[in-house]
């Protein structure tokens, strides 16, 4: 099966906006991602070192009577993102194993950079209380001042660092 084309970005944006609007109308809050990934990491760490996680000044917020670190709206939402992403890729004939990188990049180099960039994002998302989904997109639509500051900073950070990793992509 040949691959279906991607949507026109403006149309994709409007549909994404309607999904976001739907979340606001039904739940009263918007979308998110990094929070669920953090919770998953914390749950994993808890299997190895439960005491250290529960007494950690930051992670202790996820533990307490009647609380479970994975029993959270965001975790279910991101589970949905995974399912929806798989559905989208499968139905478009795009679901295949691969590594996306520029023509000059080595596989090992690309994967190392993927982890390093991921570490920076994981740390940054906790510091900023959200990522591109929970802050930029959701907070942006809710006209949160901090979210707009965050969004502008994300683009600035990306443009500043892009020339340094040109070999990875171009």
């Amino acid at each position: 099966m040949s691959e279906r084309p991607f949507w026109n970005p403006y149309v994709a944006g409007v549909v994404l906006g309607l999904v976001l609007l739907g979340s606001f109308l039904v739940m009263g809050f918007g979308l998110g991602s990094s929070g669920a990934v953090t919770r998953l990491a914390v749950a994993g760490a808890h299997l190895v070192a439960p005491r250290a996680v529960e007494t950690n000044a930051y992670f202790s917020q996820y533990y307490g009577p009647g609380k479970h670190v994975l029993e959270d709206w965001l975790v279910y939402e991101v589970l949905g993102v995974f399912l929806g992403g798989a559905l989208g890729a499968y139905s478009a004939g795009r679901m295949k194993l691969g590594i996306d990188k520029g023509p000059r990049a080595t596989t090992a180099g690309r994967l190392v950079l993927a982890v390093l960039g991921g570490v920076a994002m994981g740390f940054a998302a906790r510091l900023a209380r959200g990522c591109t989904s929970g802050q930029a997109l959701t907070g942006g639509a809710a006209l949160s001042l901090g979210s707009w500051v965050f969004m502008m900073a994300v683009f600035t950070g990306g443009y500043l660092v892009a020339p340094l990793v040109r070999r990875e992509w171009r």
Binding site: Y10, G17, L20, T38, G85, R129
Partner: protein
Amino acid sequence: MTFPLYPHGLFGTYTGLLVGTLVGVAFGFVLERAGFGRARNLAAQFYLTDLRVLKVMFSAIVTALVGMTVLAGVGVLDISLITVPETFLWPQLVGGLLLGAGFIVSGYCPGTGVVAIASGNIDGVFAIGGVMLGSLAFGVGYGPLENFYKSGAMGAVRIDALLGVPAAVVAAAVVAMAVGAFLGGEKLEAIFAPRQGELVPASPAGVKMRVFSGFAVVAALALLALALPARHTVAASKAARPIAAADLGRELVASPDAWWVVDLRPESEAGKGRLPGAMVVSEKEIASAAGLAPTRSLVVYSQGDLEAPPAAVLKFAGEVFLLKGGYDAWKADVLTAPKPPENPTAAQISDFRTRAALNAYFTGAATVAAPTLTAPRPMAAPVTAQKKGGGC
């Protein structure tokens, strides 16, 4: 005022989780169709060859923003119940820069990384693995970071409120800005894509026309709705509801993040002991309590019984409660171990059990929550605060 449904109590937590999964499926599907499961489509934004990220993101923000503004304008949506992520200026500025850097280095942001994994991209697995490590690193390094993490706290501040103009005006300005950015962005693509030996991304004029004029029409409707007669949603004679200490205790155990707790006593008194997560608010600063996010209920107390909370507190947009008997009642009913009743009835036994459990919970917690002895600033979130949703 029908929307949003969940804060109006129209369905419970578990239905909410199901809704969350469905919203996620739609979110993930659209991200995939937008091309965001592939790192090169995202990285192209930062080499100006394909500004897909800008186009999708700002079209989405504009759609949700003007949609909410119109629905609020015609009175279908209670905008005060929409969660606004709280502003902490400095960590959000620095976190944004670092996240942007991580984005171009890893090729994904956290949400698109999940979609990449779902569509079979191994680099997505490494990126999300990195995000997990980075999250854990933040927790490990939290101690010395805590002050910075809480710096620049301004509460849940909306740009329209900050500027003192109606949301519809800001929404219209955002639409104009976005369309300007789109047109400018396409000019950049036309310059930078050929320079790097790539095709300029196709952008059919018909689709553009329809999307942009759609934005303009909805933004205009939002502005027109300003002319509608104002609806008074907050009853003028709003009163605080009393709540007993034991009942409040149960609520705080069950859902600590559904409450703002405000201690009206002077800091000298409150420093000796107070409710977990309570904010100490002086008379001068009392107005700031009214500005807290109305997605939670607000409970206020003094040393003894209060007839009514200060008038400023009643301006709070959500529900206001008054702790019956004040801190004295909390001490007597919750912090003091209950005496087992003699010849008890079944109801008395059950009551005793609840009180004993509450006593154990809060007296145990009190020794852990030692930091509350120094008075925090009124706007700082309580220790137990942990926002739902949006947290990304």
